[in-house]
């Protein structure tokens, strides 16, 4: 399963803080992070807080990762400007909504704008096409962000997450 493999990548890269806004697609990975004594999982009230958290952690010498849903990308636009201006590293693992097979029309506008918005703010966007590619993509994103002081977003496609109805999401 990709969440287990991604969790292994976070541990290998010595990530110590994981900010998250709950999302059905991240359910398993959030649980793995919460159970890991070497990590601190920080519940956020909005995605924007995760950018401040990541910047503050890096000022203090620690690596972090942000888990969020594509709808939250709209909440971080202005503060991504700080990451660019200060060259703070950022790794955001973003589960897609409003993407392939979306059932909620309200998710579609932000989902379709996600990549454009991130790229407009100077964030490097990487999108694995299959579940097998997620962990290697996260590995590469961590190296890119922390070696090159870059903001990197990994978009996890809705097809991979596989939630096809509201009922299915509720039952997760």
């Amino acid at each position: 399963m990709w969440p287990e493999l991604v969790h292994r990548e976070l541990a290998a890269a010595k990530v110590r803080l994981v900010g998250y806004v709950p999302d059905a697609g991240h359910k398993r990975l959030i649980e793995l992070c919460q159970a890991d004594q070497a990590l601190r999982a920080v519940l956020l009230s909005t995605e924007e807080e995760g950018i401040g958290l990541a910047a503050g952690a890096w000022l203090g010498g620690e690596r972090s990762v942000l888990l969020m849903q594509s709808s939250g990308v709209g909440n971080v636009i202005n503060v991504l400007g700080m990451m660019k201006e200060c060259r703070f590293p950022l790794v955001a693992l973003i589960t897609m909504r409003g993407d392939e097979g979306e059932f909620n029309p309200w998710q579609v506008p932000m989902g379709q704008a996600t990549r454009t918005v991130l790229e407009a703010m100077g964030t490097i966007v990487q999108r694995p096409d299959s579940a097998d590619e997620i962990a290697p993509t996260v590995n590469a994103a961590l190296r890119l962000a922390y070696s090159s002081y870059a903001s990197v977003a990994v978009l996890i496609p809705q097809r991979v997450i596989g939630i096809k109805s509201f009922q299915e999401q509720t039952n997760q």
Partner: protein, 188 residues
């Protein structure tokens, strides 16, 4: 009521190893007027994120005391941070709001606190701890009271001369990390 510059100067007196984040606007100029330091991170943007930067720093540096000094308008833009800090309970973090009840950089328009919104009550409700009101006790609390601590200091709504820190974000980050982490800041 006191002048904001003398309040911030008093809070930062003999600061020792204190790590300081200041929110966008007047508080960034206030900490600079009190004496610029590489262990200051004055924010020139990202309004609403000062408290969260303080949380990230406090969690990354549990042995150091961390102070966020910010304005009422900046705090109001990121109130959710108080809930997030309340859940994490970092015992080395203090957040002090310098409250002039105005948006000082945009024409001194009234903020919510001018209309009675009580930031200390919000913070208390989120699980942050009250600090003593007088400045010398507040200063001591910032250095030694187990946090997360929160205080509001009401100050005069007046225009004071600009005292600007360096503007370049990458420079502010690099000087802070070098001062805190030493030479290895550049190699990790």
């Amino acid at each position: 009521m006191m002048n904001r510059r003398s309040v911030v100067k008093k809070i930062l007196e003999n600061r020792g190893e204190l790590l300081v984040i200041a929110g966008l606007g007047s508080t960034a100029w206030d900490i600079t007027a009190a004496g610029d330091s590489p262990l200051n991170f004055p924010m020139w943007g990202a309004m609403g994120q000062a408290a969260m930067m303080g949380l990230g720093l406090a969690l990354a540096q549990p042995r150091r005391r961390v102070l966020v000094i910010t304005g009422d308008g900046e705090m109001l833009m990121g109130l959710g941070a108080l809930a997030t800090i309340g859940v994490q309970q970092p015992d080395n973090l203090s957040v002090v709001v310098i409250d002039n009840e105005r948006y000082g950089e945009t024409g001194m328009q009234a903020t919510h606190t001018a209309h009675g919104v009580d930031l200390a009550a919000v913070a208390r409700g989120c699980g942050l701890k009250d600090c003593p009101a007088d400045l010398s006790s507040l200063r001591k609390a910032i250095h030694s009271q187990p946090g997360p601590n929160f205080a509001v200091v009401k100050v005069l709504a007046e225009k004071v001369p600009l005292v600007l820190p360096p503007r370049e974000g990458a420079l502010l980050k690099a000087r802070f990390r070098r001062a805190l982490l030493g030479p290895e800041a550049d190699s990790v």
